[in-house]
Amino acid sequence: MPHITYVAHDGASQTLDITAGENVMHGALYNGVEGIVGECGGALACATCHCYIDAAWVDKVGGPASDAERDMLGSAGAEVKPESRLACQIVVSDALDGLVVHMPDRQF
């Protein structure tokens, strides 16, 4: 199973095995990771699973997957940066084994 590292705003990190095919938001929610809210459940309707892709992974993960994700990022509570993504739109795969995402200071 690919493993994903979630780094909280205070620097604490958790590395979890996430089933390929799941998304990075669910990976956090189902494992009790604080800092990702994901209140709409992945419908691109809330911007509460905002995360920053670690610099080493930005090229591999890429930017927003759609105009809808780009639009919705505009409603994020914390600062939106070039490496900002919505975690629900990042599907876990073997290619992303080792991915590191950083959580913002707040989701709303």
């Binding site: 095919g21 799941e22 998304n23 669910h26 929610l29 189902y30 009790g32 809210v37 209140e39 709409c40 459940g41 992945g42 419908a43 691109l44 309707a45 809330c46 911007a47 809808a68 639009d71 919705m72 505009g74 409603s75 709303f108």
Partner: protein, 399 residues
């Protein structure tokens, strides 16, 4: 029913008897009425209506604050639903607060996630087409009876792992429970539903499957099996939550579609934009409200509210907040995407939202593919029913 007395800490200038849910002005055109609240009322006011007594919020920002601040606003005992004193079950997950709440959500969220519901897409498309088959050649139908009601009921049965031959019985129960004006009729339906679901739970304990009911039965909270009372409350809640809301939403949308041929053609001409179209229609035709009780005193926009006060977000009005959605009543499929409140928000954000979106999207696609032109039956004027779910009672269509 008499109004509750207004507490002393509510300033007189903030008291507005707006007639939400029940006044003739509301029932004539509820969405226009709720949009106009932004001109008529301050952003936070105390409503003295019999059904909506308490603080009312109409700003997008304030509703999200309420929905996202479980430390101030509790859901406990917040659902006005009759219960047997001998079996005082909670409706779950809605009446649980964090952190317990997340454990209940984890039982069904994987099944109801965008990926989880994809397995239902084929079934829903077939059900929608079966229903259209029955009316297409007739050139007319009562949309509510022919499509709006049976579609979500069939899907509910499928999701729960209950037999489709119960469809008409469930439709009848749902109509009696949620629409009967005679409380005795609603009461009988309620007991019939509870009795049936209790039997079905027993049956699923003996013969588990991969449906939602078996998942609930096998659900674990704090590593322990869910109690029989919680299993029951979870199952009853899914029945109540899923059926009337989608029904009312479909009726609202089809009432509008029947009167807006140019928009119908636009939807048909833009198949690739169906997600954005669906979201805009959901914004424009939200059907429900979200109530909480304050756990501690709080001040919002200079208004001081006290622990124990009821607070309700008028979600359709929040979707018409002109600061967030300019020209809010116009249906514009090219709006910049912002969070809508039709499915509420925060941890209690509607768990069936993806399923509802899928049902409505497939409904739009299949109906407009097969019956692209239709209108209201001549002489018909929509009558909205009073209550917590906003939609026209009947919808006769001709084509």
């Amino acid at each position: 029913m008499a109004s509750r007395p207004v507490p002393d800490h509510v300033p007189p200038e903030l008291i507005h008897n707006i007639g939400l849910i029940e006044s003739p002005e509301f029932l004539a055109a509820p969405h226009d009425f709720m949009a106009a609240l932004h001109d008529r009322c301050p952003p936070i006011f105390w409503s003295t209506g019999t059904q909506s007594a308490g603080w009312n919020l109409i700003k997008h920002e304030d509703a999200f604050f309420m929905l996202r601040s479980a430390e101030y606003f509790t859901n406990k005992g917040g659902t006005p639903f009759p219960r047997d004193p001998a079996n005082p079950f909670r409706l779950l997950p809605v009446e649980a607060d964090p952190p317990e709440h997340r454990q209940f959500r984890n039982v069904l969220d994987p099944m109801l996630s965008p990926q989880g519901i994809l397995r239902l897409e084929h079934t829903i498309r077939k059900l929608a087409n079966d229903l259209i088959d029955e009316v297409e050649a007739k050139g007319e139908c009562q949309f509510d009876e022919a499509f709006g009601r049976p579609l979500p009921v069939s899907i509910f049965l499928d999701l729960m792992g209950l037999p489709q031959d119960m469809r008409d019985t469930f439709v009848e129960w749902a109509v009696d429970l949620l629409h009967a004006t005679d409380p005795a009729v609603a009461g009988r339906a309620y007991w019939a539903i509870c009795g049936y679901l209790e039997g079905a739970i027993e049956d699923k304990r003996k013969r588990p499957d991969d449906g939602a009911m078996s998942r609930i039965i096998n659900g674990q909270i704090d590593g322990e099996p869910m109690s029989a009372q919680d299993v029951f409350g979870f199952t009853v809640f899914l029945f109540i939550a899923g059926l009337d809301t989608v029904f009312a939403t479909l009726n609202n949308m089809w009432l509008w579609l029947a009167q807006n041929p140019a928009k119908r053609r636009e939807i048909i001409a833009r198949p690739d934009d169906i997600m954005a179209i669906n979201e805009e229609l959901l914004r424009r035709f939200a059907v429900t409200f979200s109530g909480r009780t304050l756990l501690k005193d709080i001040e919002m926009r200079g208004v001081r509210m006290k622990a124990g006060d009821k607070v309700m977000s008028i979600l359709p009005a929040c979707n018409f907040d002109p600061e967030v959605f300019p020209n809010p009543l116009s249906v514009d499929f090219d709006r910049k995407r912002k969070p809508i409140l039709s499915f509420a928000g925060g941890v209690h954000s509607c768990m069936g939202a993806h399923l509802a979106r899928l049902e409505i999207r497939i409904g739009l696609q299949e109906w407009l593919r097969r019956i692209p032109d239709f209108e209201l039956k001549p002489g018909f004027t929509a009558e909205f029913r009073p209550g917590g779910v906003v939609g026209p009672e009947h919808l006769p269509l001709v084509w």
